[in-house]
Amino acid sequence: MAGLEDLYREIILDHYRTPRNRGELDAPAVSAEGHNPLCGDEIRIFVDVRDGIVTDVRFNGSGCSISQSSASMMTSAIKGKPIDQVKAIVKKFKSMMTVDEDESPVDESLNLGDLEALQGVVKFPVRIKCATLGWNTLLDALTAAGQ
C-alpha cells in the first residue's frame, strides 16, 4: 500500500505552505487559465518571454497541496530558462507523471531537482491531474506568448 509519506513529502508541503512566485505579471506578460473539472481547482499562469527566455513566471489560483506545490516548483524550475529547455522540463515532468503524449524522446539527462519529490503522486493516479494542472496551463500560456 502506498503510504501518505510517498505523497506528502516535506519539500512538497514546504512549497504548499510557502509558495514561490505566487502572484501576477503585467503586460507584456501573457497568461492562461486552467481548471480541474473534477475538483474545481483553478490556476492561472503568467509568463514573460523575452528573446526566447522565460524571464519571469508567476501563478495564482486555488487548489490542493499537490496542484499548488507542483505549480510552485514548476515556476522555480523554469524561471530564467530558454524556451527549449523549459519545454524539455515540461516533457520530462509529464513523462514522470506518465502523461507524456507525444512520441519525441525525453531528455533523460535532465535533472528535475525538487520536482522529483512529486514522483510519489504516480502511486495515487487520481492526483496526477492535480500535479499536472499547472504544467498544462503553462503550455497554454506559452502558446499565448507565441511559443
Partner: protein
Amino acid sequence: MSLDVTAIRKDFPVLHRLIHDKPLVYLDSANTSQKPQVVIDALSNFMSHGYAPINRSAYQLAAEATDLFEGTRTALAKFINAPKAHEVIFTKNATEALNLVILSWGRANMKAGDTVLLTHMEHHANIVPWHMLVAERGIQLRWVPLTNDGQLDLTNLDSLLQGVKAFSFTAMSNVLGTINPVQQLCAAAHKAGAIAIVDACQSVPHQPTDVQAWGADFVTFSSHKMCGPSGVGVLWGREALLEALPPFLGGGNMIADVRLDGFTTAELPAKFEAGTPAIAEVIALGAAVSYLENLGMANIRRHEIEMSTYVLNSLTDRFGDDITIHGPTNPELRGATFSFAFRGIHPHDLSQVLDQANVCVRAGHHCAKPLMRILGANATARASFYLYNTQHEADMLADALDSASDIF
C-alpha cells in the same frame, strides 16, 4: 420502528470488505449507494435464467422478462404514489430524465424572453439544460437565493415567480443536505401559472415520496442512489403533460407507425423509451424498491434524522470552530449529507488522508459550481450517510479528520 442497522449491514456484502485489513467506512451514498444482496441476486438471476428482450417477442422467456420489467414500473408508481404506472418513464439516468423534461417541454412551450425560476442550490443537471435553452431559444433564468444557513430564501418567492413559465428545483440539496418545502413550492408555482419540476434524486432514497401530495408536475430521480443498479433514471410526470410533451429520443419502441414521410408516437410510457432499455437493471431496481419498502421509508428517514443529530453534535463538540458544516443545523430540515471545511485543509488532501482509514468521502464541487461560488469555496469535502451507516462510523470519520492535522 427504528432500523436494525446491524441486520441491514449484513445485507450489503461490500460493507464487509476489508481494505488493507481495515473495514470500509462508506460515507458517499449521496454520490451513489451500495447494493443489498437481494438487488445483486435479482440482477444475477435475471442475467442467468431470465434474460430476454421486452415488448417485442411472443415466446415465454420474453413475456416473463416483460412482466418483470413492467413489475418495476408498477412498484415504482406505488412507491412514489403516482396515480398511473404509465406515468413512470425509464431513462438512462436522472440527468437524462431532467434533460427529457427540460428540453422537450421547453422547446414546445418556451420562446425568447420566457422565464424559468431555478435556485442557487441546483445540481448542474438542473442548470445546464436550461442554459442550453437560453442559447437555443433566448429564454431567461431567474434564481431563488439562499439564506445564511443554506435554506431557500423564500421572502420574495411570489415576485420571483411572476411571469415565470416553469419553476425547477431540487427536493434536497446534494451539497447542503437541505430539504426543501416541495409542496409549498409547487403550490406557489401553480398559483403563478408555472409548472413545477422537482429534482428528487437526493430525497427519494431517503424519505417517503408522494408526488400527488407534493402537487408536482414532473419528478426525476435515479436508481443507483436508492440501492438499485446504475444505468436507470426515472421520470414521473402528470399523464396530461406527458401526453402533450413531444418525444425526446426517436427510434425503436417509441413509435406507433413509421412511414417514408413521418412517424406517429407510441402511447405512454413507450413514447419516451426509445431503444432497448437497461432491462436487467430496471428489474433489479424493482428488488431495491421492495427492499426499501420492507424497511419502511419513514423508518429510514427517522434513522437519518438520528444520524444527522449525532454527526452535527459530535463533530461540533469535538472540533468547534475548526469545522464548518454547511447547511441547516436543524436535523429535521436536512438529510444526512454534510459538506464541510476543516482546519483550512483542502478537500482533496482531506479525502486522501481519510482514505488511509478507508473513510470514503467525496471531495470536489459536487456538480454544483454556482453554489460553490456562493459558499466561497472551490470545493468541499462531503460525508453522506444512509440506512447502513452507524454512529461508530461517524466517530471513525472524526478520528480520521483529526489525523489530517498530523500532516498539514
